[in-house]
């Protein structure tokens, strides 16, 4: 039991440390919106077969709690949410684990060497100008080399950190919602032809006391979630200036803090939980971009520290509970560059190195650190009808442990190849095929955590094959765009926890093998009748058959793996009339299993959620934009769960006020 608790504690901690596109038609975004997205130092591709994006306006429309909630709307992604504001959210893309997705904000990787999982509930959307998920290929060339070596990349660009032409810009968002949610964000940016400076801050809180219901045998049990409160805040500043016409320098500082209750899963007959998590982090990043003739170069360096304090006062040990503290630091520096070779080719490359260390305050046998160097080199070239891109990456990981046995060093080379048609044929048909070989390194928790860690772990390998087609059969007043992707991926040496000392002490082993076959279909329709009236419809459907190939003799051989539903889908309809509009959106998931054995007792029921929103904008005067929106989420009050017994909220309301000075 004790060790079970430890495992749980670890899992909970891991959860709390800190997953595709539909809307390729964006004429509704105003000119100024598009300008903001077009960041001078990033070359953006628009291949819908490899990336899915959301702009600020779309984010405003859906009013998501966080990035996790917006990524749920993308095809090929599987959200795992533990419920509540700030509660752990991770996204698995195309059947690979959450650790196979890198998160990059304003060109800087968000690091988490301890658990390897970024809690997407801690990344909020107020400041986002654009967010894009790249499954294969790249949307730009100047991210850190290490960003391109994962299974997929989530790229976020913020308002706070972009050069702009208008003198003074302001963003203010204020939200009030069910379950005690109060959420305020303010950012001010001063622009000058030579520089910009921005300061921002955000505070949100919620008591998280949401009503829920679930089925216990034949009885519907209702309750109110407890120990689910959250207070979190962040603030920071950015500045950037032009050193010359083609050279920029940027500094980004941000701090984050959170104090939250961990409600855990609903336990039958025992409603009491007291675990808490207090987290704090700071990051300081420097960035230098320059264009020297045909060469674009970026030099960057960043520091990030994270402090986490996990408290469980009800743990039945002699010291009256658990109080565990973790400190981790990461320093990350590197160079990325690309150069045009003639008019048909681009050569790109980069190298970066990341030093991470972790201190487990309660551990006597682990104080690990890691040097992780990554380089990539590649190029793409346009033949008459085809474009080909090739990339090779190398990673060299040196492991150290000041207090005990260390993991083995790793050095690996991984290829990536993409082919797409160059000419837009009839209907703008575009074919894209790609192959990617990648891996994820075991996290510090998996390697070193007391009793659970296993220093003998090898990296988890992933191979992905994808083929996509998109076309635009109608492009008039009515626009229609269809994108389909089919893919196959397999993961080897998957890191799974199994009992190795007794039932309660689970330890990490490279025992899993998962084969995933998937199909994504996205459809975007836009109908613009006149200046005043327009309609948008987006829909996507994902089929994922993710089978356990770990062991021929296991009862779960070729069973659908836990937590991957076979069918998921999204739909949304937006009606815009003058400065007002209505949004209907829905998310559906078929049933899934809580464990790999596909038996009825492991079933987590499928569900459908419907959200509704209505907004009104005050006509833009002198760059002032004022918007009010009212949303109802889970309109039909469905009871549902992404994770077994982590009950999700029923119907909720949100009123949001947004002011922007463009």
């Amino acid at each position: 039991m004790f060790n079970k608790l430890i495992v749980c504690g670890l899992i909970v901690i891991a959860f709390h440390w800190k997953v595709l596109s539909q809307d390729t038609i964006k004429p509704l975004a105003t000119v100024s919106e598009l300008e903001q997205v077009t960041i001078t130092h990033i070359v953006k591709s628009t291949n819908d077969n490899i990336s899915q994006d959301f702009t600020r306006l779309e984010i405003l429309k859906y009013q998501p709690q966080d990035v996790g909630a917006i990524l749920q709307k993308l095809s090929g992604s599987t959200l795992k949410s533990y419920g509540g504001l700030g509660g752990m959210k991770t996204i698995s893309v195309r059947g690979l684990g959450a650790q196979h997705t890198n998160v990059v904000i304003d060109g800087f990787l968000v690091n988490n060497t301890q658990s390897g999982q970024i809690n997407l509930a801690n990344i909020q959307t107020d400041n986002i100008n654009s967010i894009s998920l790249n499954t294969g290929g790249r949307s730009n060339y100047l991210l850190p080399a290490s960003a391109y070596v994962s299974g997929s990349i989530l790229t976020i660009l913020t308002f706070e950190n972009s050069f702009d032409t208008n003198r003074l810009q302001v963003r203010f968002n204020s939200k009030y919602g069910s379950f005690g949610e109060i959420d305020n964000y303010l950012a001010i940016k001063k622009n000058h032809p030579k520089f910009f400076i921005s300061a921002f801050g955000k505070y949100r809180q919620a008591n998280g006391k949401y009503p829920y219901s679930y089925l216990n045998g034949n009885n519907i049990v209702s309750g109110i979630r407890s120990n689910n409160d959250l207070k979190d805040w962040y603030s920071g500043f950015n500045f950037g200036f032009y050193l010359s016409k083609k050279t920029t320098f940027r500094v980004i500082y941000k701090n984050f803090g959170a104090n939250q209750g961990l409600p855990g899963s609903v336990i039958l007959y025992n409603p009491f939980t007291d675990q808490r998590l207090i987290s704090a982090s700071n990051s300081l990043n420097f960035n230098f971009n320059s264009k020297i003739r045909l060469l674009n170069i970026r030099i960057f360096s960043g520091y990030q520290d994270d402090k986490t304090h996990y408290i469980d006062p009800t743990f039945l040990n002699n010291s009256g509970g658990i109080s565990m503290r973790y400190y981790s630091q990461t320093i990350h520096s590197g160079i990325s560059a690309y150069r045009r070779l003639g008019i048909h080719s681009i050569l790109f490359g980069g190298i970066d190195t990341k030093f991470s260390q972790l201190e487990f305050i309660d551990s006597k046998n682990a104080e690990p650190n890691r040097n992780h160097t990554t380089f990539i080199i590649g190029g793409n070239t346009n033949f008459s009808k085809l474009k080909a891109e090739f990339q090779i990456s190398g990673q060299f990981i040196q492991e150290n442990n000041n207090l005990g046995e260390r993991a083995s060093n790793v050095s690996r080379y991984n290829p990536f190849l993409l082919i797409e048609n160059q000419e837009f044929w009839k209907w703008n048909v575009k074919f894209t095929g790609w192959y990617k070989n990648s891996f994820r390194i075991p996290t510090f928790n998996e390697l070193y955590y007391n009793g659970i860690g296993n220093v003998k772990l090898k990296p988890e390998d992933a191979n992905q094959y994808s083929f996509g087609v998109n076309f635009q059969p109608i492009d008039k007043m009515l626009k229609l765009k269809i994108t389909t992707n089919s893919y196959f991926s397999y993961v080897k040496n998957q890191i799974l926890a199994i009992p190795t000392k007794n039932l309660f002490v689970w330890s990490m082993q490279n025992i899993g093998e998962v084969h995933t076959r998937g199909l994504e279909i996205r459809m975007d329709i836009q109908y613009k009748l006149n200046r005043n009236f327009s309609l948008e419809m987006n829909g996507n459907y994902t089929f994922q058959q993710s089978l356990d190939y770990s062991d021929k003799f296991s009862p779960t051989y070729k069973n659908q793996v836990a937590y991957i539903p076979k069918h998921t889908g999204n739909g949304s309809l937006t009606v815009n009339y003058k400065n007002s509009g209505m949004i209907f959106s829905s998310y559906c998931s078929s049933m899934k299993y809580a464990m790999n054995e596909n038996i009825s007792s492991n079933i987590i029921d499928g569900f459908a959620l419907f959200d509704f929103g209505i907004y009104s904008k005050v006509k833009q005067v002198n760059n002032h934009e004022f918007r009010i929106q009212f949303n109802i989420k889970n309109c039909f009050n469905s009871s549902y769960a992404f994770v077994k017994y982590y009950v999700m909220p029923g119907r909720s309301f949100l009123i949001s006020l947004n002011y922007a000075l463009h």
């Binding site: 009885n219 007959y269 007792s601």
Partner: protein, 353 residues
Amino acid sequence: MRYIKLFIIVFLAVSCKKHKVETPDSTAISGLKNGMLVLCEGLFQQNNATLSWIDLSNNTIDNDFFTTKNSRNLGDTGNDIAQYGSKIYIVVNVSSTLEVLDKNTGKSIKQISMLNGNTSKQPRYITFNGSNAFVTCYDGYVDVLDTASLTITQRIKVGDNPEQMAISNNKLYVANSGGLNSPNVDSTVSVIGLSNLQELYKITVGKNPGSVKVDNQGDIYVITRGNYSTIPSRMVRINTQTDQVAQNFSFDASGIEKMGNKFLINFYNYSNSTSNIALFNTENEAIEINNFISTSNITTLYGVVYRSSNNKIYCLDAMSFTNTGYVRVFSGSGIYETSYHVGLNPNNILFYE
């Protein structure tokens, strides 16, 4: 008057019919004889502890027996099951409940909450003496339950995180694991006098005591589970006259099951997933047969139960802990006979004649 008579007749008929459903005769129809009730522990925080009912007359299995009978689930982590008198007691660890069922119907008589204020007592095991049931609780107590009124009458302070118990010589021997203080685990057995219901003293036995059994001679045997690395899991014998450790055994052991005047000593090796069941003679205190049962068809040995009435050995196979398990049946001489597919992590069996 005629109506009243009719009413009485109808009432009686209805009552009789209703009554009939609940008589022991009809439980025979519902199946509670010639079978076995298997407690399947489930997994932590998944609320999937279950009872499997195996009807041996037709070999049918109901893996959702508790829910079928009580229209609600058993809860989280079913740790122990025992029968005493006409009742069945199930200790549900994480849900922190004691479920009391009617032995003949499987229906709930009472659910006793094992919460202490806002904190779970985390009950672990149950044993009986006279009118009392003793329940070890991970908060360092043995709770005394009056089996007639089904109320907790007393809490007896013992060592840290107590596990199994056994009774000998009018004393209750409680293994104090101290598992939640790992690596600084407990190494004692608390001795409780059954006449005054107080801890008399503690006996030091070795690190992390867990299983406790008594033999026909009244000796107490304790498994000290060590630290899962350098200190191995071993068995010690306590002389209940002197309450001293009389013997330390040098073979690997993780559980004890009594078979007449012998013990079946089971051992599951987590590092290579192999298991062993040895036959131990409690008269000459020595292993008689080292590999008494061929465990090659057992994936994860999670417990052994001996049934004296048919002289059969039932091995509980937890199937790597994340898959539903099996009860594997062997003859009294260790020959494999059959298997029954049950719920997740089966850990104990009650037999019905």
